[in-house]
Amino acid sequence: MKTEATAVSANGRLDAIANAGRRAFVFLERTGRAGLFLLRVLQSIPAVLARPGLIVQQVFSVGVLTIVIVLVAGAFVGLVLGLQGYNVLVRFNSEASLGTFVGLTLVRELGPVVTALLFAGRAGSALTAELGLMKATEQFAGLEMMAVDPYKRVLAPRMLAGFISMPLLAAIFSAVGVLAGYFIGVGLLGVDAGAYWAQMQSAVDFDEDLMTGFWKSLAFGFAATWVALFEGYDAEPTAEGVGRATTRSVVSASLLVLGLNFVLTAFLLETDT
């Protein structure tokens, strides 16, 4: 009896190991496919540069249509930073440094990261759903049968659009956040307006801070768009498949952005020192 129970328990453990192994293989296989996919998209980019109209069209749907959510989110984040920053700084009689606090927080961290998360949620999910539906309705196969390469006509313009839009959206987010912080700090809590701008101007460095935010937003735009495009193109061509791909796209892109943020922060801080 005891031997039987031991055998069952050992089998259970073996099954768990086999399952974990299987999942690891699936993950590696998918990652490899995503890498090859990215390679093909990047190879197709030179062909797209000859047709800027395609890129402009996608910058509109990927970037311009995301502006509203970025404006609103940037304003709320700026308002909260103003409140929290004032609340902490006033204890040390250094509320005049509110501009520095808001500026550095937004430009170095929150601007690129929150914008990338919003980008993954709004533009990334829309891209995945669009591509998944194109696959489900055989539009990719239709393009291939018309001797049109979907990588050149559909995927590469979207990749470039994400790459171009993200830094611009992050800049808009940070600018609105700074204004919202000003509104709370200077307008409502009585911080001196000159001190707010002067402190920010002296503390926020172009190379160290603005460029850090720029490189981050560029990397996040690249990563979030890559994930969104791959999930859409690789989606199972059914309604359920497209739904699953869209969810996966947002989750994977968000985690990738957060992980990448840590790596980039460590790397850029190291470079700065």
Partner: protein
């Protein structure tokens, strides 16, 4: 294949000077040279446009095609028929090199399509039209733009000429009036007709229809049958129809292959298949509920199943 420009007929694949006085030409503009869409240079010596030999294709453990030979004759309508899930659409994907076979070859216009480089394959595909079951229209483009799409991608025709060609193709399928509509505003039958207009935009040598009659009302079905027949005869196309609609397909096909279980069960003209000796083919073509394909899914003894403890 001929090409009409400003009232004159040209063989395709030519650069021509607009024949009308520069100022009065409404299509090309003053003194413009027009490169007409490429027309296939298939080897006209052979009667067989597509030759499939020893085709074997598997999905995992499942064998979809097992050493299958098929011939598609130039200028004729050949139908591939068989039950759902037998791989009819897969066959079209193999013929167009969207899939690669495990063994065997597919020769289109005397060239092994799976041995072509990507640019060569795309050149070949310009000469192959395909009508997908869903239409596969680009949903963010109007009907006009959908039909114009291959012309814009593969030719340098002036806008006036593109408009002329697109309207001519849409007129041929009876949907010139729907040029401004979006695909979402079309019925299933209309979407397939637009897709047909798009498929013939580059004047292909052949056209493949994937389940063209599925889900169509009788009027749409009649329209599609007429269009496929007319297109084939008037444009000198070679047509392949994949379908399980026996009556409709038999009414226009010159030759029919009946496939199942990865092999050709029977073949011949519709009249020959009427008198087929194959019991399986007879059951399929006449839609009999029982025969070699049993009504019951394999199961144990009924009484035993009912009264077992």
């Amino acid at each position: 294949m001929q090409f009409l420009l400003c009232g004159r007929v040209y063989p395709a694949l030519h650069s021509v000077q607009c024949p009308v006085q520069a100022e009065s030409c409404r299509l090309t503009g003053p003194g413009q040279t027009v490169k007409l869409p490429a027309r296939m240079q298939d080897s006209p010596g052979s009667d067989i446009l597509i030759r499939v030999r020893g085709l074997t294709f598997r999905r995992g453990e499942r064998v979809i095609f097992d050493n299958v030979d098929l011939d598609f004759q130039r200028g004729r309508i050949t139908a591939i028929m068989g039950p759902s899930g037998t791989g009819k659409t897969t066959l079209l994907k193999l013929i167009t090199a969207q899939l690669t076979p495990d063994a065997g070859s597919v020769e289109v216009a005397s060239r092994n399509i799976h041995a072509l480089s990507t640019p060569e394959l795309f050149e070949m595909r310009k000469r192959m039209g395909m009508l997908f079951q869903s239409g596969a229209l680009l949903t963010d483009l109007t009907v006009f733009e959908n039909v114009a799409y291959p012309l814009r991608e593969h030719t340098q025709l002036p806008e006036r000429m593109i408009r002329y060609l697109v309207l001519a193709k849409l007129q041929a399928v009876g949907l010139r009036g729907a040029a401004g509509l979006l695909p979402a505003q079309l019925s299933g039958g209309m979407a397939r007709r637009v897709a047909l207009a798009r498929a013939i935009a580059l004047d292909p040598m052949m056209i493949m229809y994937d389940e063209p009659f599925t889900g169509q009302d009788p009027i749409s079905m009649g329209v599609l049958i007429k269009l496929i027949h007319t297109m084939n005869d008037n444009l000198g196309l070679t047509s392949i129809i994949v379908s399980h609609d026996v009556v409709e397909t038999s009414s226009i096909a010159d030759h029919i292959y009946v496939i199942s279980d990865g092999r050709v069960m029977d073949q011949g003209s519709p009249a020959e298949l009427e008198r087929t000796a194959s019991e399986w083919a007879r059951q399929f073509l006449k839609g009999l509920p029982d025969g070699p394909v049993h009504f019951h899914y394999p199961a144990g003894d009924y009484a035993e199943d009912l009264f077992e403890n």
